[in-house]
Symmetry: C2
C-alpha cells in the first residue's frame, strides 16, 4: 500500500442540468491508489471518435454552444432543447467523465501479480473517462502494447479496429459473403477496407465525395460508389449484384440510404429467381445501423420483399455475444496489425483545454473524414 | 388411370401486361387427372385475405379499376402506374392463379395409398390457385378435416391460424415473454388474442377505433390501446411497461407506429436501468412487419438506443425454419381448435363471378375488420 498522498489530476466532465444547461469543464480530481487488481494509467493519447460526441454534448442545440472560462480552464456551455430532455433523463445532474478509449503508461499498480506485471508498461485501455490525466481501472482491462509502441500509436486500439473486425465477424457468423459500408472513407472505413483486402472479402464502399472515393481507391479499395454521383443508384445496384453483398453496416442512419441498399440487394436477388413471388426473394437482406451521422428518421419504403431486417449494432454487446475467447482473438489481431491494418492518422494533437476551444469543437463536431483529433491529457496547454 | 375426359372448370387469373394493363378474369381451364401422389379438390370455400390482394391486384392504381364483361364472366381491368412496373417485372404477361388457401372435397385421387385414402374427404389446402372450382395438388399438402367439418369451417386453416401461432412461437424462440400486435381487431388479431388468453401470454392489442376496442374486449382481451385516442402514447407506454413486451408484430408497416412501439419499449427498459448509458438499454426490442395496410414508408426516429431491430416476417419461411415436426404441431393445434380458437367469421359468401363485382372489390379492398369475404367457387352465380 502506498503512503504517498493521493494524486490529483485533471478530468474532463460533461454535465447536463435539469434546466437543460450543458456544461463541459476540466475538474481537478483526486485519484485514490489503485486497488489490488487495479492499475493507474497516465493517459497520453485518446482519440475523439464520433461515438464520444454523444456523451460529450448530449442532445445540445449546437447553435447555443459557447466557450467561457480561461484558456487553461475553458468551460463549454450550451442548451438542450426542452423537447429532447426526455432522452437525457438518465444523465441529468451527473458530471460524467468522457472518452471511450486511449493509451498511456501504467504509473501505479495494486499488489496482485497481474497488476504489478503492468507497472511501467504502455497499455491501451477502453471503458470511458479517458479524457483525463489519470485513469484507474482493472488490470484485466488493459491491453499491453508491444515494446516500442508509443501511446499515440495505441490510442485507437478498440473502438474502430474492433468495430471493423466485428463487422467482418458478423458477416461470417450470419452467413453473408460480402459487405456494404457507408461513410466508408472514415478512419473506421479505411480499416475495414484494409481488413477486407487482406481477407479476400468483397466490400462495397459508399462515400459522399469525389476526394473520399480517391482516398479509398489509393488505399486499395476496388469497389467505391459515390452517393453524390448522378449514376449512384445504378452504380450501387451493379456493385451489389457483382459482389453478392446481402449485409450492410450503415453509419448514416437517417434518410433513405439504408432502404436504397436493401432495394439494390433485392434487385440482385430477384434477378436470380426462377419463379415470381409477390413476397419478393427469400434472400435475407440485413442493414445494421451503427452510427447516426444523419440524426433524421430512417425511411424504409419496404419495396424489397419480406426477407429484410434493419437494426442497431453496437460493439460491446457484440463482443459479449461472441464470448471472451472469440473477442480476445479479435483484440490480438489488432495488436498484431497495429501499425499496418489498424494504423490511425490524426490531423491534430490537443491538450484537454485545447480540445474544448471553439475552434477544435467546430472541427471535430463536423465528423468529417478530413479531421481526426487526438487528445493528450498530459500535454501542457499553451499559456 | 381414369379414361374419363379431363374435366374443365373455372379458374380466376390475374394478368399484368407489359403495357401495365391489369386484367382479372375467369378462365375455363382443363384439369388433367391427378398424378399418382396427387388429388383433385373441388374447392368450396376460400377466404379473401389481405395477403391475397397483392397478387390479385398487383400495384394497380385503384382509381383506374373498372369491371367489364358479363355478370357471369366479369373482367376487371386497371392500370399499374409506370413508376411501379419495376416491382411487377417478375409476373409480367403471366396469367396467374390466385387464392392462398381453401377447403373442399377430394373428387379424384391418384393411385398411391396416401392419395386414395383422401378420396371423398373434406380437406383444407394451401398453395395458391384456390379461387378455382378445382385444384390438383400433392396429397401430402392436404390437411384432412375431422368428420362433420364443413368446407366453410376449414377454409382459413392456414394463413391466419398459422401466422398467429407463428407469432407466439417466434416470441418463445427469440426469448420474449409478451407481445404487441397492431391492427389487432382483424380476424388474425382475434385468433391471436384467443391463443394468448389460452396460453397465459400477455398481449398488447393496438386498434384504431372504439368499436374495435370493444370487439376485442368482448372476446376476452384485457389490454387494448386505441391509436386514435388522445392518450394513446401514454396508454401504450403503460401497457408495454406493465406487460414487459419487447416483441411486436405490425400489420400496418407504414408511418411511425413501429417506431412508437420501440420507443415505448425503450422507456420501459430504461426505467429498469441502474446506470446511464448514452447507447440506451441493452434490452433487445424487435418489431416484425408482416403486412402493409399503410403502404407508405416506415419512419424510424431511432430514439430507442441501439438494441432494436425492424424486419419483415413471413409465414412460409418461418415454417421452413422451424422444421417439419414443429410446423406439424402448429397445424395439428389448428385442427384441434378449429371451431373455437381458430373459428373465422365471414360477412359475405360469394361465387367467383360475384367476387369480381365492383361492389365486392370495393368492400374487400378496404381490408377493414368489418368485412370478411369467403369465395365458394362452386356456388352458382345468379343469372
Amino acid at each position: 500500500m502506498s503512503l504517498a498522498p493521493a494524486p490529483t489530476a485533471l478530468q474532463l466532465r460533461s454535465l447536463i442540468k435539469g434546466s437543460g444547461e450543458l456544461e463541459i469543464s476540466l475538474v481537478e480530481t483526486t485519484f485514490p491508489p489503485p486497488g489490488d487488481d487495479e492499475v493507474t494509467v497516465r493517459i497520453e493519447a485518446s482519440p475523439i471518435n464520433p461515438s464520444d460526441l454523444g456523451l460529450l454534448f448530449g442532445a445540445v442545440d449546437p447553435t447555443t454552444l459557447t466557450v467561457a472560462g480561461t484558456p487553461e480552464r475553458p468551460v463549454v456551455k450550451g442548451k438542450v432543447p426542452d423537447a429532447l430532455m426526455g432522452a437525457m433523463m438518465g444523465r441529468v445532474d451527473q458530471p460524467l467523465p468522457v472518452g471511450n478509449e486511449g493509451a498511456g503508461v501504467v504509473v501505479a499498480a495494486g499488489k496482485s501479480p497481474a497488476a504489478q506485471a503492468l507497472l511501467g508498461a504502455t497499455v491501451a485501455v477502453m471503458g470511458g473517462g479517458m479524457y483525463a490525466q489519470l485513469r484507474t481501472l482493472r488490470a484485466s482491462m488493459c491491453l499491453r502494447l508491444p515494446d516500442g509502441t508509443r501511446p499515440a500509436e495505441g490510442a485507437s486500439c478498440f473502438v474502430n479496429p474492433l468495430t471493423a473486425l466485428g463487422m467482418v465477424e458478423t458477416m461470417r457468423r450470419e452467413g453473408h459473403t460480402a459487405l456494404v459500408h457507408t461513410a466508408a472513407a472514415s478512419n473506421l472505413g479505411q480499416m475495414l477496407s484494409r481488413i477486407c483486402e487482406n481477407d479476400g472479402i468483397q466490400l462495397v464502399n459508399i462515400v459522399r465525395k469525389k476526394e473520399q472515393e480517391e482516398l479509398l481507391r489509393s488505399g486499395g479499395a476496388t469497389v467505391v460508389c459515390n452517393s453524390s454521383s448522378p449514376t449512384f443508384a445504378a452504380d450501387l445496384a451493379k456493385a451489389i449484384a457483382d459482389t453478392g453483398a446481402t449485409l450492410a453496416f450503415d453509419a448514416v442512419g437517417g434518410g433513405k440510404l439504408a432502404g436504397q441498399i436493401l432495394a439494390a440487394m433485392e434487385v440482385a436477388a430477384v434477378a436470380r429467381m426462377t419463379e415470381y413471388s409477390r413476397y419478393g426473394s427469400t434472400v435475407h437482406k440485413q442493414v445494421y445501423i451503427y452510427g447516426g451521422l444523419d440524426r433524421g428518421p430512417t425511411e424504409l419504403s419496404r419495396t424489397y420483399g419480406m426477407a429484410w431486417s434493419v437494426g442497431g449494432w453496437l460493439l460491446t454487446p457484440f463482443l459479449q455475444k461472441i464470448g471472451a475467447a472469440a473477442a480476445q482473438k479479435l483484440r490480438q489481431r489488432v495488436v498484431d496489425e497495429l501499425k499496418t491494418t489498424f494504423a490511425s492518422h490524426y490531423t491534430r494533437v490537443v491538450s484537454l483545454a485545447e480540445a474544448l476551444s471553439s475552434d477544435s469543437i467546430a472541427a471535430y463536431r463536423k465528423m468529417g473524414t478530413s479531421e481526426k483529433f487526438l487528445v493528450n491529457p498530459n500535454r501542457s496547454s499553451p499559456t
